[in-house]
């Protein structure tokens, strides 16, 4: 009997939820087996995945390539450094609760300026605005610490119930912070998945595919692009908030344009035409960069070669290539 396609089917979503839960369990069980250093690296990877996930709603789902997302990452990182220094706040939850609206506000403002343009003009505008912030971070050294940056000591977690002082504090922090970031990462993935599968997400994809037709459906193009920019910047800002305590320091480097390039690279590496691409890209790029830096002083050259090969051989990224291969090998393949 043929299934009635007009009825909602929950089976694919249950399968997806089960697969996601399995991945989450594996990630949760990993730390005792991989050791402290790898746990720290994986935490960086998850943070990069959150940034790329946010970036991809703009690139993959709205069709806008930003070269200025370092701005939101940097705003997230600096906002908590200021909260710590100027307001004496040590709680990670307060960092997120206060830092997130700051990142959202900056994204809303930048987005308002940028989304009136597309293609290269959009990219250049985002780049220019992010470099204004970079210059301010460098020049206003009495506020930002200049090139020295600002220290971000280990915060307390879960409303001050977990703090990190005394002997073995670093190890305890990495262990606890990994699970903290993993929890935030899981929430981010669910939230972003719902967004891109919502009517709003479908409208973004329609605008990406065919702006003129989308306008003739009655969609207000600029408003949707602005909303996408706002969500994207806020997610990337959250990644900056999570990154600063792990790094222990924030410097103007995270506002500089090569850092925006890294976010683009991360997303391309995983694949920007599928949901999981940026997640895989975030984790793989973190390891790739870490080991490239450890291997050679010409690590930028190595990453450049990887990027060239990626564009030439895997234009759909790692996940795109795996999906294509799976389709070819699947039971219904020709």
């Amino acid at each position: 009997m043929k299934a009635d396609v007009s009825r909602i089917s929950y089976r694919p979503k249950l399968a997806l939820a089960a697969a996601s839960a399995l991945v989450l369990i594996v990630l949760a069980l990993l730390p005792p087996f991989i050791g402290l250093y790898q746990t720290q690296l994986l935490t960086y990877g998850l943070i990069a995945a959150i940034a790329a996930l946010g970036f991809n709603i703009l690139l993959g789902y709205t069709g806008l390539l930003s070269f200025g997302h370092s701005a939101f990452f940097g705003i997230g990182a600096y906002s908590i450094a200021f909260l710590l220094r100027d307001a004496g706040i040590h709680s990670m939850e307060l960092y997120i609760l206060i830092g997130l609206p700051i990142a959202a506000l900056a994204s809303a403002l930048f987005g308002y300026i940028c989304v009136r343009h597309t293609r290269i003009f959009f990219g250049i505008l985002t780049l220019a605005l992010s470099q204004v912030l970079y210059s301010l971070a460098l020049k206003l050294f009495w506020i930002t610490g200049g090139t020295d940056g600002l220290r971000v000591p280990r915060p307390t977690l879960l409303a001050g119930t977990i703090s990190f002082t005394g002997a073995g504090a670093f190890q305890r922090f990495i262990d606890a912070y990994y699970y903290y970031v993993l929890g935030v990462f899981a929430i981010c993935v669910v939230v972003m998945w719902v967004i891109v599968h919502s009517p709003f997400g479908k409208a973004l994809q329609a605008i990406r595919d065919n702006e003129i037709r989308a306008a003739f459906l009655g969609l207000r193009i600029h408003r949707f692009r602005w909303m996408s920019f706002l969500i994207s910047g806020t997610f990337t800002g959250l990644a900056g908030i999570l990154w600063a305590p792990l790094n222990g320091l924030t410097t103007p480097d995270v506002l500089y344009w090569p850092f925006s390039g890294e976010i683009v690279f991360t997303t391309l590496l995983g694949g920007f035409r599928n949901f999981t691409g940026p997640i895989v890209g975030g984790i793989v790029f973190t390891y790739l960069k870490t080991y490239a830096v450890a291997t050679t002083e010409y690590w930028q050259l190595l990453l450049g070669v990887v990027l060239v090969l990626l564009v030439m051989l895997l234009p759909t990224g790692i996940v795109g290539a795996i999906s294509a291969a799976a389709k070819k090998l699947g039971p219904n393949s020709p």
Partner: protein
């Protein structure tokens, strides 16, 4: 009852007069064909009415309201929709999503960010109903980019139809398809449009199609209306015959 009226509508591109004082009246419930040779001004007229172009002068009245300077969004809200000469779809989205988006937009649900699009049963039902009318129900999960040309043409019209417009402009719905597909497409489009009580204006070159499906035919030539009447009146019009055969017009 008059649905749409243009008053002395003019649009010029350089020396070319795309619309040269057009007074176009569309009555509610009509199925009108807009014909004429290439460059006659048919698509420009539709572009002016649908807000893709701004007129140099003149007025556009829809249900007696002046919409001459209304935005695309406002005109769609008023009840004007269109399809395009070159198929204009969201190729990476499924056939279902293409039509569902029209329904979401019409219902003002596109700002919904925290619910899954495919879990809106009302939208789902209406989308499948529209797809069924256009014979595309079985293709609902196929990406629009993967459809055959005839199906793409039908989907293009279905996307506009799902907006539930009062006035629907169809710009060459049968261009680029085989003769057999043309009949199938026009049979489907005309029956769906008539069943839905939608007023339709179709730009078409194939005169067999035009004479077979139209209540009224309007012929444009060099930005002006040359003839306006029933298919029988148009068939009997010598100027129309001259244009169609490439002969000079009568004095």
């Amino acid at each position: 009852m008059i649905l749409l009226r243009t008053v002395d509508l003019r649009k010029q591109f350089g020396e070319t007069k795309a619309c040269d004082g057009v007074n176009f009246v569309v009555n509610k419930g009509e199925f009108i064909s807009l014909v004429g040779s290439n460059g006659a001004g048919k698509t420009s007229l539709v572009n002016l009415i649908s807000a893709q172009l701004k007129p140099d002068s003149g007025q556009i009245l829809f249900e007696d309201k002046d919409i001459t300077f209304a935005s695309v969004h406002e005109r769609i809200k008023a009840g004007i929709a269109r399809s395009f000469q070159i198929v204009n779809l969201f190729d990476a989205l499924s056939v279902f999503d293409n039509v569902a988006l029209s329904v979401f937009t019409r219902e003002g649900k596109t700002a919904k960010i925290a619910t899954l699009a495919e879990h809106d049963q009302a939208v789902r039902d209406e989308t499948f109903d529209v797809l069924g009318r256009f014979g595309l129900r079985d293709k609902s999960s196929v990406p629009a980019g993967g459809l055959a040309q005839g199906e793409r043409k039908l989907l293009d019209v279905a996307v506009a139809y799902a907006l539930r417009p009062k006035l629907l402009f169809l710009d060459e719905p049968t261009s680029g398809v085989s003769t057999r597909d043309k009949t199938q497409i026009m049979d489907t489009v005309s029956s769906v449009v008539r069943a839905g009580a939608v007023t339709a204006v179709v730009i078409e070159h194939d005169m067999d199609v035009v004479f077979r499906y139209s209540d009224r035919i309007v012929m444009m030539h060099e930005g002006r209306f040359l003839a306006d009447g029933t298919p029988e009146e148009i068939k009997a019009n010598k100027d129309v015959a001259s244009i169609l055969l490439g002969a000079p017009l009568s004095a």
